[in-house]
């Protein structure tokens, strides 16, 4: 038994060095050289200031911007320091209330739109940081954004068309639009 404990102790320490230090250090080294942008959070830079990450969503509620998925992170939506989903079941009254509030907000912000609402616009994402909405949700919001900005719908729609990310290689995942990038482009339009 004594020899087993000694062998276990030494092997454990060596394995800790190998898999806990050398392995991540090697990957970090290669990643920082080969993929520096991706490895450090795919940041959107403007000069020296960080305007967000291409991968992390931001909260929008102004009618002039495209709104993203709901987020239930605490203490404010899209708090990327504490990712979280709602984890509420289909029958949970909180879920119902939150979705209903979003429906109301969408309808109030543009009363002329009576089309059914794409479901991703009234549900919370898994991470609470989803950077994307579906193209359906983007098209749904085009008339509102155009009206709030007093520009032609066609122009906004073209922007959405341009920013749609298709399925990777044509078949992986779902088509989507990055709301942060879309809104940044919108501001550049004016």
């Amino acid at each position: 038994m004594n020899s087993i404990i000694k062998q276990a102790a030494v092997l454990f320490l060596l394995m800790t060095l190998l898999t806990g230090v050398l392995y991540p250090a090697l990957i970090t080294g290669i990643a920082q050289i080969a993929f520096p942008r991706q490895a450090n959070g795919s940041l959107i830079m403007e000069g020296k200031s960080i305007k967000g990450s291409r991968l992390i969503g931001q909260p929008f509620s102004d009618p002039r911007y495209f709104w993203g998925r709901l987020s239930t992170t605490s203490p404010f939506p899209y708090n990327s320091a504490a990712s979280s989903g709602s984890n509420e079941g289909a029958l949970n009254p909180n879920l119902k209330q939150r979705s209903q509030e979003r429906v109301n907000a969408l309808k109030q912000s543009y009363t002329e739109n009576n089309r059914p609402i794409p479901v991703d616009l009234i549900t919370a994402s898994a991470s609470g940081l989803d950077p994307h909405i579906t193209p359906a949700a983007a098209y749904y919001q085009v008339p509102r954004v155009a009206k709030a900005r007093r520009i032609k719908e066609e122009k906004v729609k073209q922007l959405v068309d341009r920013l749609i990310e298709n399925r990777q290689f044509g078949f992986l995942g779902e088509p989507r639009v990055n709301t942060l990038l879309l809104n940044q482009e919108l501001d550049r339009l004016n």
Binding site: M15, F76, G85, G89, Q100, I117, D120, H132, T134, F169
Partner: protein
């Protein structure tokens, strides 16, 4: 369901099959001590490790010594993770100044990562220092996975050997698993993941300005967002390959820094089932009859596809509550539709349901969507896959030895029905094997149902429940199923980071891992000592469609009989209420 969804699922299955034989063959060579193409590179390192630890790789161990070695090494892992969490505030690589983790939570996490469960009661980005993640959790991702695979190798030798007292050398099996299998695969996968945007950095978190400032719950203005970084990709690669599942960030692989693109998602999903699937071939190869391996593989796949179909269908139906508000949940050209609560846009319904099925079929437990927000029947699929005992592919090593124990039970029942002495792969199945196999089948049932019942009777258990009604029962049932079978995923609405759940789930994880490993090794020891009886007319062939169907039937029956009453109180009632 859209055609593209089926194409993605089909492609996934094709990729899985394509890797099964080459990787399975490679692993068989590793466990039989043969040279591989990686030996010129890694053999010196292997020999160096043996020399330092005073290990003689060719020294054979009987099953009791093998078990002792495995347990002692796992104990070291457990203590290390515990100590790191308690002391991280005074240790280096802690740029966010994380405090010491409370004792109950640290115990839970230490057990969780030693037992290959990777249940997470904590939020990664708000609790663990970089040092704890790398030195503690990262290391356990390798060692707990390698422990499972080593035990499997010993179990297979029980069938492959004749009149032998020994099952191999645990140190050698463990070391070879890490060096030749887990490390090379993890290196490749983590770099592929970084290329997609998974972070891998030792910098502290970055601060980004918000385009539109918001007010928080207290009414104060927030104009910035903290973007957490860390050495995530290296840990995520092994978390998937080793069926660990413990995420770097709180929301696991739904977090865009942990799983940013559909390609990173596909690779991670593939990694979840890659080794468990290939081990079926390894098994066939080591017992010199690959048909046996494929028969087991097919049995697993049949159950997998069944559960996947249920979850996929249920999630695509959407949530009737939302339809009432005027939501459009139809799949179309520009949206996947369906029940999108707790799902990410880039994954949609198909990739979320496929992941949920894969991660619960294997005892992985990482998530790319929140299982708690699934429709009742959509959540039933993953829950039941866990309850079957994590043997549909299952954890690396542990899944296959679990399934092989069920194969032993299946030949035993078949033998009873026709009045013949049961045999599996030429080994007589006798009283001792059946006693041990029954333990393997019954212990998880006991911890799951007993734990759930206890939690529902106690205030400490009930007050952590988030959702009202039957869904609340599902949350507790899921927690004990996940812990008792070492899965690690959760219906995360349950606030499990309380002393009550940290301790009870910790004990369930211990029982679910080590009380299974012991009887499994005992069976292996007993089988290895036996002679192989020659195939005769009376032998039940175990590679035929008949046996595959029989094995599936036994697994499903045991799972249904054990858990149907509990499931009826949770997801099934909830489904009826949803209409």
């Amino acid at each position: 369901m859209t055609i593209v969804s089926w194409i993605q699922i089909g492609l996934y299955m094709v990729a899985l099959v394509a890797f099964t034989k080459p990787l399975g063959m490679f692993m068989a060579r590793v466990y039989q001590g043969e040279r591989t193409w990686l030996h010129p590179l890694l053999s010196p390192l292997e020999q160096f490790l043996y020399r330092m630890a005073n290990i003689k790789a060719e020294d054979e161990m009987d099953w009791k010594t093998y078990a002792k070695a495995a347990l002692v090494l796992n104990l070291f892992g457990l203590l290390m993770v515990y100590a790191l969490q308690r002391l991280q505030f005074m240790l280096p690589f802690n740029p966010a100044h994380m405090l010491a983790v409370p004792a109950d939570s640290a115990f839970n996490t230490a057990v969780s990562f030693a037992s290959n469960t990777n249940w997470q009661g904590y939020g990664g980005e708000t609790t663990m220092s970089y040092l704890t993640q790398m030195f503690g959790l990262g290391v356990q991702n390798f060692l707990s996975a390698a422990t499972g695979m080593a035990v499997l190798a010993a179990f297979i030798r029980g069938f492959a050997r004749e009149q032998s007292q020994s099952l191999g050398n645990f140190w050698a099996d463990l070391t070879r698993t890490v060096l030749y299998i887990l490390l090379p695969l993890s290196l490749t996968l983590s770099l592929a993941l970084v290329s997609q945007g998974v972070v891998q950095s030792l910098q502290p978190a970055q601060t980004a300005s918000l385009m539109q400032p918001v007010t928080d719950e207290d009414g104060s203005k927030i104009g910035h967002q903290t973007l957490p970084l860390g050495p995530a990709a290296s840990q995520i690669a092994i978390k998937q390959l080793g069926t660990n599942g413990g995420g770097f960030f709180n929301t696991n692989s739904s977090h865009p820094f942990e799983n940013p693109t559909p390609l990173s998602n596909f690779l991670q999903m593939l990694a979840i089932l890659l080794i468990p699937s290939a081990l079926c071939y390894t098994f066939g190869s080591m017992v010199k009859d690959t048909r046996q391996g494929w028969a087991i593989w097919l049995s697993m796949t049949l159950i997998f596809v069944g559960a996947l179909s249920l979850t996929l269908w249920a999630e695509q139906q959407g949530n009737p509550v939302l339809s009432g508000m005027g939501a459009d949940q139809q799949a179309g050209l520009w949206q996947s539709g369906g029940n999108m609560e707790g799902k990410e846009t880039r994954f949609g319904i198909a990739n979320s349901a496929l992941w949920a099925t894969a991660t619960t079929a294997a005892s992985n437990g990482s998530v790319n969507s929140m299982h708690d927000s699934y429709t009742p029947l959509g959540g039933l699929g993953p829950l039941w896959l866990i309850q079957l005992g994590e043997i549909v592919f299952g954890g690396v090593g542990s899944g296959l030895y679990g399934m092989l124990v069920f194969a032993i039970i299946a030949v035993f029942i078949a033998g009873l029905m026709v009045g013949r002495a049961p045999e599996y792969l030429g080994k007589k199945i006798e009283v001792f094997e059946i006693k041990m196999a029954s333990l393997v089948a019954l212990i998880p049932v006991l911890t799951i149902l007993g734990g759930t019942a206890a939690a529902l009777l106690l205030y400490a258990g009930i007050r952590s429940i988030q959702d009202p009604g039957p869904h609340g029962i599902s949350e507790v049932l899921y927690a004990f199923s996940s812990a008792g079978n070492n899965n690690g995923s959760a219906f995360a609405g349950l606030n499990a980071n309380t002393p009550f759940y940290n301790v009870t789930l910790g004990l369930a994880m211990l029982a679910g891992r080590y009380w299974i490993i012991l009887p499994v090794l005992a069976i292996a020891g007993s089988l290895a000592a036996k002679k192989r009886s020659p195939v005769s007319l009376g032998t039940l062939p175990t590679h035929t469609p008949l046996f595959i169907g029989w094995l599936v039937g036994v697994v499903v029956m045991v799972g249904a009989l054990s858990f149907f009453p509990a499931l009826a109180l949770g997801p099934i009632v909830e489904h009826l209420m949803l209409k």
